[in-house]
């Protein structure tokens, strides 16, 4: 009996495995109902994620305050309530200020290049189980956002829109292992390909054997045909390491992105590059050294020198 039961469950297991392999094959062949299942899920999840962002972020800041609940004095309670209200106000103000600064920065960048943009808030991001670096935005096709549009933050490039629903969109971040972008070195015409690695730094492969790169070089997006998926001229990152291996056909290196992808709150999606290629106009300016004041002191001659013995 046990053997029959065992065989039956094994048979079921084999059947389910074959079914899952069948589903994988269908998806790889591009059967549309399967891909629309995911976008359907996104449509359902987006309002929940938006709500969770609104509710969860302020609440999480008050976990430490729970310990004060046992106090009974009315005055203490009232003061604590006021205190918490003020704290929440401060946190709210800080959050708003951070988002405002972020928004201002990204609008400055977009304004310089005359990009037509739509700003959106980050409401969620991809989990560990997906092994993909993604974020979810609270704006979608209703705001004009479409697949394969460039996403920027105050520092520069963030990623590219992977899919959209009416009110949300998923962005593939530039550190995702499947991310590729054509770049050029600012001030030169040398071109290369930047590859996401899942880490903070990205891999760079130059295209030409004669290309020369050095540490500190700024990379800008080359742009794609019809500005999709990438508009030209967006700052991508700075070369942090150049590999000098013998026998290499082209130069390779590592690049640090300009944007901290772990702390994104507001980003902008580029709908169109109105003025075409902005060239090197968006290259971040190096901070100017503060002028140092040098004071020369000339000792004035004294009429007599007093010795210790005097």
């Amino acid at each position: 009996m046990a053997s029959r039961g065992s065989n039956r469950s094994r048979l079921r297991w084999v059947f389910l495995l074959v079914t899952s392999l069948f589903i994988i094959t269908l998806d790889l062949r591009g059967v549309s109902p399967l891909s629309s299942l995911r976008s359907g899920t996104q449509s359902v999840l987006a309002p929940v994620e938006r709500l969770a962002t609104r509710v969860f972020s302020p609440v999480s800041n008050f976990f430490s305050e729970v310990g004060n609940l046992g106090r009974s004095k009315e005055r203490i309670d009232r003061l604590e309530a006021e205190n918490q209200e003020l704290k929440s106000q401060i946190i709210f103000n800080e959050n708003t200020l951070t988002q405002l600064e972020s928004l201002k920065g990204v609008l400055d960048l977009a304004g310089k290049a005359r990009y037509k943009t739509v700003s959106a808030r980050v409401i969620s991001k991809g989990g560990i189980g997906t092994f993909s670096e993604t974020i979810v935005l609270d704006r979608g096709s209703n705001s004009g956002i479409g697949r394969d549009m460039t996403v920027i933050a105050p520092g520069g490039l963030v990623g590219v829109v992977k899919s959209t629903t009416a009110s949300s969109s998923i962005v593939l971040l530039m550190n995702d292992p499947s991310f590729r972008i054509g770049v050029r070195v600012a001030g030169k015409q040398d071109m290369g390909i930047l590859l996401g690695q899942g880490d903070k730094s990205h891999s760079l492969q130059m295209l030409s054997a004669t290309s020369v790169i050095s540490v500190g070089d700024v990379l800008l997006s080359r742009g794609s045909s019809g500005d999709k998926p990438f508009v030209p001229g967006v700052p991508v990152g700075k070369v942090s390491y150049v590999e000098n291996a013998v026998g290499q056909l082209t130069k390779e290196g590592r690049v640090n992105g300009f944007v901290d992808l772990n702390s994104l709150s507001v980003v902008s999606v580029v709908l169109a590059a109105v003025a075409g290629d902005p060239g090197d106009a968006l290259v971040p300016q190096a901070p100017r050294p503060a002028p140092t004041v040098t004071v020369f002191v000339t000792p004035s001659p004294t009429s007599e020198v007093q010795g210790y013995g005097d």
């Binding site: 069948f22 589903i23 969860f56 189980g129 092994f131 690695q197 899942g198």
Partner: protein, 172 residues
């Protein structure tokens, strides 16, 4: 698995999926991230009989495949979780004592989550998915294992209670 149990299992894993996508994914964990869904699934399935474990694995995998941020082909998590559930319920479970101690359960859950992530990456790589640098993969898997250990006092008792609640009196 009995048909009457199916809706309850489905509801539990759908709720868990929602929590994972809407809340857990928003938290910036110190090292990589944490998949509550995966850890909870392992803690759940290790208590199951082989028959129902395989079905649960298939259902849980299908739900996880719905994740809109997933780059892998649809069905990959279904394949991985169906395989893992059979492995856990038949081989690992049989090798353990009839009464699962918390320590044994914790170790099995963490190891199984780690193995599932590795299997997912391996099969994904075979299917042509980009995997990322070795440091990224190691950090992700290690981070998940770390958080699975640290947060186990929270999710393991819930998994045990909910699992018991879905069983009929005869099965209990």
């Amino acid at each position: 698995m009995e048909i009457s149990r199916l809706p309850r299992v489905l509801l539990i894993f759908l709720t868990l999926f929602l929590i994972q996508e809407a809340l857990i994914n928003q938290i910036d964990f110190l090292v990589a991230g944490f998949s509550l869904y995966l850890a909870f699934f392992m803690a759940w399935v290790i208590q199951d009989q082989r028959d129902s474990a395989v079905t649960t694995g298939f259902i849980a995998g299908l739900i996880l495949d719905l994740s809109p941020t997933l780059e892998a082909p649809f069905g990959l998590w279904t394949f991985v979780l169906a395989s893992m559930s059979f492995l856990l319920a038949s081989n690992v479970r049989a090798a353990l004592d009839a009464q699962l101690t918390p320590l044994v359960m914790l170790s099995a859950t963490v190891l199984a989550s780690t193995f599932a992530l590795t299997l997912f990456l391996l099969v994904g790589a075979i299917l042509g998915q980009e995997v990322g640098s070795a440091s990224y993969v190691i950090r992700s898997i290690f981070g998940n294992a770390l958080w699975s250990v640290l947060l186990s006092p929270l999710y393991v008792p819930v998994a045990v209670r909910l699992h018991k609640a879905t069983l009929t009196a005869r099965q209990q």
